[in-house]
């Protein structure tokens, strides 16, 4: 028999796995203690106080009045479980906050779920189905959406999952710590072939990953593909996509991503992935202050995969001029993290739009560690 065929724990293949297992172990200990205590007492009482012979009911039940002693017992067995459960609560919350907040400089990968497959796009342009290749010891952030029903991207060996919703972006992150192949399961029931909506995460050394990436799609980076889509849909006819082109009819997209946008109704909103998606598909729902509701909807004209490319392109146009940025085609390099593209391979640097107002000179493409 395969040694893997009998095991109690999945592999600990991410940084969070050990934390989750520790909380699980604590809960198993507490549960085992109380289960065994209760089982022991039930059996002990059942034997010790079992009716003797034809013993009848007590003439007067001496224990019907419990008084102060009874009250103390009630308080004890209310307060002790309450205290223990508050420890579990706090511990669970602290892990959840780590699990749900991707580190700022995570490597970004995009996931689209559909009945019944996972479509994955790397920023550098590589695309895969039901497989996810990632480098070891890197924070990986997945931005996910669904083309149809709710799915859920679950990697048990990383101890994390997140629902993948239609009409919305959700994120999930992990930092793999072991080279290997791990299950991807769809964990939210999604129809006939739900149990076939599975795949494999391949965690590779950085060198292997770079080599794998080099055999990419040849279609250019996601941002480049997004730019092509941007031009094809005619977005640039209204939206100035380089600074100083003061067209005036539509908001400037350069430096937009990550900023707070003032809206016509006086509120403001953070320009994140979901905002961009909503503005393309439902342009009337949030009107930027100083502009009119003149944009037509692009609903039905862009696939979810295409939408992600468009988002990636707009991200690549950078945040406000002067702030640092680590998105694909932008030249400002804040560090040598391999996250910034080693894009001599995919050619992103050649064609990436270079905002005129960006002050810093492009750094040479960084090599990988």
């Amino acid at each position: 028999m395969d040694p893997k065929s009998f095991q109690l724990f999945p592999e600990q293949a991410s940084t969070i796995a050990g934390h989750v297992d520790a909380l699980y172990a604590f809960l198993v200990l507490v549960s085992a203690f109380f289960s065994l205590l209760i089982a022991f007492l039930v059996v002990w009482f059942a034997v010790k106080y079992r009716q003797k012979g034809n013993e009848g009911p007590p003439v007067h039940d001496p224990h019907s009045e419990h008084g102060a002693a009874g009250m103390i017992l009630e308080i004890v067995w209310t307060v002790i479980p309450l205290g223990l459960s508050m420890i579990m609560f706090a511990w669970g919350v602290s892990i959840y906050f780590t699990e749900s907040r991707p580190p700022a400089d995570s490597m970004e990968i995009y996931v689209t779920g559909k009945q019944w497959m996972w479509k994955i796009q790397h920023m550098e342009g590589a695309r895969e189905i039901n497989e996810l290749h990632i480098p070891i010891n890197r924070d990986i952030k997945l931005t996910m959406t669904s083309e149809d029903v709710i799915h859920d991207f679950y990697v048990p060996d990383f101890r994390t999952k997140s629902d993948v919703l239609p009409g919305k972006y959700t994120t999930e992150w992990f930092k793999p710590t072991k080279v290997g192949a791990y299950h991807i399961f769809c964990a939210e029931y999604c129809g006939t072939k739900h149990s076939g909506m599975i795949g494999t995460v391949y965690v590779m050394t950085q060198t292997d990953y770079d080599e794998w990436l080099a055999h990419g799609s040849g279609e250019g980076s996601m941002a480049e593909q997004g730019q092509a889509l941007f031009n094809q849909l005619g977005c640039g006819n209204c939206h100035p996509s380089v600074i100083n082109n003061q067209n005036g009819r539509c908001p400037n997209l350069v430096g937009l991503f990550g900023t707070r946008v003032e809206l016509k109704d006086g509120t403001n909103v953070r320009a994140d992935e979901s905002y961009i998606r909503e503005s393309v598909l439902y342009p009337e729902s949030k009107i930027v202050a100083g502009y009119d509701n003149i944009m037509p909807t692009f609903k039905g004209l862009i696939s979810e995969d295409g939408m992600l490319k468009l988002v990636e392109y707009i991200k690549s146009l950078g945040k406000q001029a002067g702030t640092t940025n680590t998105s694909v085609p932008l030249p400002v390099q804040t560090s040598a993290t391999p996250l910034t593209p080693s894009n001599s391979k995919t050619g992103a640097m050649k064609t990436a739009p270079r905002p005129a107002a960006m002050p810093a000179a492009p750094a040479p493409p960084q090599g990988n560690r």
């Binding site: 395969d2 065929s5 109690l8 724990f9 999945p10 934390h19 809960l27 507490v30 549960s31 289960s35 209760i38 089982a39 007492l41 039930v42 059942a46 106080y49 079992r50 009716q51 009848g56 009911p57 007590p58 003439v59 039940d61 224990h63 019907s64 009874g70 017992l73 067995w77 209310t78 479980p81 309450l82 459960s85 508050m86 669970g92 919350v93 892990i95 959840y96 906050f97 699990e99 149809d148 029903v149 709710i150 859920d152 048990p156 994390t160 999952k161 997140s162 629902d163 919703l165 239609p166 919305k168 399961f185 964990a187 939210e188 029931y189 999604c190 129809g191 739900h194 149990s195 076939g196």
Partner: protein
């Protein structure tokens, strides 16, 4: 209908005072309506159980070799829909609650006998619709009906199934209403609130949940039907809806519904433990108010089903802490039952064996709920077999053990007959062992990461699945045996006296089976609840 034969000279009781089919179908007697429910609920339990057999057979091997994926999905959906809406929710309240609440409070009937009969007919209309769905091709949404799969993508009979559950809900609402009014208005003279049996307290709390929660699921299912039938957008983003809204609305009812299923069971256990230890339950008022606390806090925890559904982390924290708080009253009940056993006069008759089994299984079910309330751990465990194991420990290990404890406890009262003690003890033990073998391995499967609702699974999960299927065959046998001896007892069982267990409640002071009017003269209550001191040795039938 029940065809027990009684000596001619025996006085008339609710079973033999009228004859013929119409005397049953048009009855307004709460006891006869309880029997009508018993037949219908047992029918649905058998159907739901057969679906469970198919699930466990299919999962014995990793490949999908018995059923195709579509059929498998329909099978687990119908198992869930039938067991929850047509078995667990009505089981104890509609059968035992209906039969016993008027007897326990010294009343002639429920407050609204006609409404009681109507609620049975409403249940049957829902049940017939559900059966039509089963026979004509089924539905594959899972019992949770998550959108937009259910509203826009499923090929099954979603609208008809939702309609069945929708109609069935009105039966719950009317039953709850009837119980609340009855408990308020029809108690015998001297029967104060704190002289009420804990079974009545539990049903009172349950009724409140039924009345307040069920309309929400009715509205939710109605919106689902509108979206599926008329494409009015509530939940599907393609029509401008929000799929997570459905989950909030669904669980706003369906989490409290868990307490509709378990609270009556806890009421049964309180009665059984008190009787078979001959002691007033330790902490009577704490047990009574813990039922009320569960009913109240049960409404505030629905978001713990949505920790990975893009719900705000801060909202999640509130739901997490409230989920821990709702666990406390359940723990209080367990400890009070234990303290009741301490220095009791313990008689290990069949109902007591089921009650002890309940304490063990419900403890495990409750404790594993703490795992799922811990947000960081729930991210790994939700939608895996850990959740499946957890809610089966609560629903089968808790609710069904309580139902069987109650059925064995009050069977002599309902039918006037005893069942064979040896067989019934054997089946209680078989059910306990079979249950653990079926569902404990599923906790381990879940932690290893096996997702629920998987038709085909990776081979490393097979060992535990085989154990689980083996356990299910023992569990199934354990359920068949009582079916046989209960029927046998109707004709051949020893005649039960009015109070075969030496119990204290008012229901044991009238004859078995009770007369149609329950009590020859309205009882006047002068003693405290669970007072065993007036029992004489002769009134107590000890085993057989």
């Amino acid at each position: 209908m029940i065809t027990a034969t009684y000596p001619e000279k025996e006085k008339k009781n609710y079973l033999n005072n009228e004859h013929g089919l119409m005397s049953w179908l048009l009855t307004k007697d709460h006891k006869r309506i309880a029997i009508l429910y018993l037949y219908a609920v047992t029918f649905f339990f058998i159907i739901g159980g057969l679906f469970a057999v198919l699930i466990r057979l299919e999962l014995a091997t990793p490949a999908g070799d018995l059923l195709d994926s579509n059929t498998y999905n329909k099978v687990f959906t119908m198992h869930g829909v039938i067991m929850i809406f047509f078995f667990l929710i009505p089981s104890i309240p509609a059968i035992l609650g209906n039969f016993l609440i008027p007897l326990m409070i010294g009343a002639k009937d429920l407050a609204f006998p006609r409404i009681n009969l109507i609620s049975w007919y409403i249940y049957m209309v829902g049940g017939v619709l559900g059966t039509i769905v089963v026979c004509t091709g089924g539905v594959d949404t899972g019992w949770t009906f998550y959108t937009p799969f259910s509203s826009s993508y499923s090929n099954g009979y979603v609208v008809m199934t939702a309609m069945a559950a929708f109609i069935n809900g009105f039966s719950s609402i009317l039953t709850g209403l009837n119980f609340i009014v009855t408990v308020h208005r029809m108690r015998a003279p001297g029967l104060t609130w704190f002289r009420l049996p804990l079974f009545v307290w539990a049903h009172y709390a349950t009724s409140a949940v039924m009345i307040l929660g069920t309309p929400v699921i009715a509205v939710t299912l109605f919106l689902l039907m509108l979206e599926r039938g008329l494409h009015i957008g509530f939940f599907d983003p393609a029509y401008g809806g929000d799929p997570v809204l459905f989950q909030h609305l669904f669980w706003f009812y369906s989490h409290p519904a868990v307490y509709i299923m378990i609270l009556p069971s806890m009421g049964v256990i309180s009665e059984v433990i008190s009787t078979f230890t001959w002691k007033k339950p330790f902490g009577y008022t704490f047990i009574a108010f813990s039922s009320v606390a569960i009913a109240v806090f049960g409404f505030l925890v629905w978001g713990h089903h949505l920790f990975v559904s893009s719900q705000s982390a801060y909202a999640g924290m509130v739901f997490s802490v409230l989920s821990y708080i709702v666990a406390i009253p359940s723990a209080v009940k367990i400890f009070n039952w234990l303290a009741t056993m301490y220095k009791g006069t313990i008689r290990l008759e069949t109902p007591m064996l089921y009650a002890i089994g309940f304490m063990g299984l419900f403890t495990v079910g409750g404790l594993t709920g703490l795992f799922l309330s811990a947000m960081g751990l729930d991210v790994h465990l939700t939608d895996t077999y850990f959740v499946v194991a957890h809610f089966h420990y609560v629903m089968v290990g808790g609710a069904i053990m309580g139902y069987l404890a109650g059925l064995h406890f009050w069977w002599p009262k309902i039918t006037g007959r005893m069942y064979p003690q040896g067989w019934s003890k054997v089946s209680a033990i078989l059910i306990f062992v079979g249950f653990n073998l079926t569902f404990f391995p599923q906790f381990l499967l879940g932690y290893m990461g096996m997702p629920r609702r998987y038709h085909v699974y990776p081979p490393e999960f097979q060992v535990f699945n085989v154990l689980s299927s083996a356990g299910a065959s023992i569990l199934g046998l354990g359920y068949v045996i009582p079916g046989i001896y209960f029927i046998w007892s109707l004709k051949y069982g020893a005649i039960a006296g009015a109070n075969p267990w030496g119990a204290s409640g008012l229901e044991w002071q009238t004859s078995s089976p009770p007369p149609t009017e329950n009590f020859a003269i309205t009882p006047v209550v002068t003693t405290e609840v669970y007072d065993y001191s007036t029992l004489t040795k002769e009134t107590v039938h000890v085993g057989s």
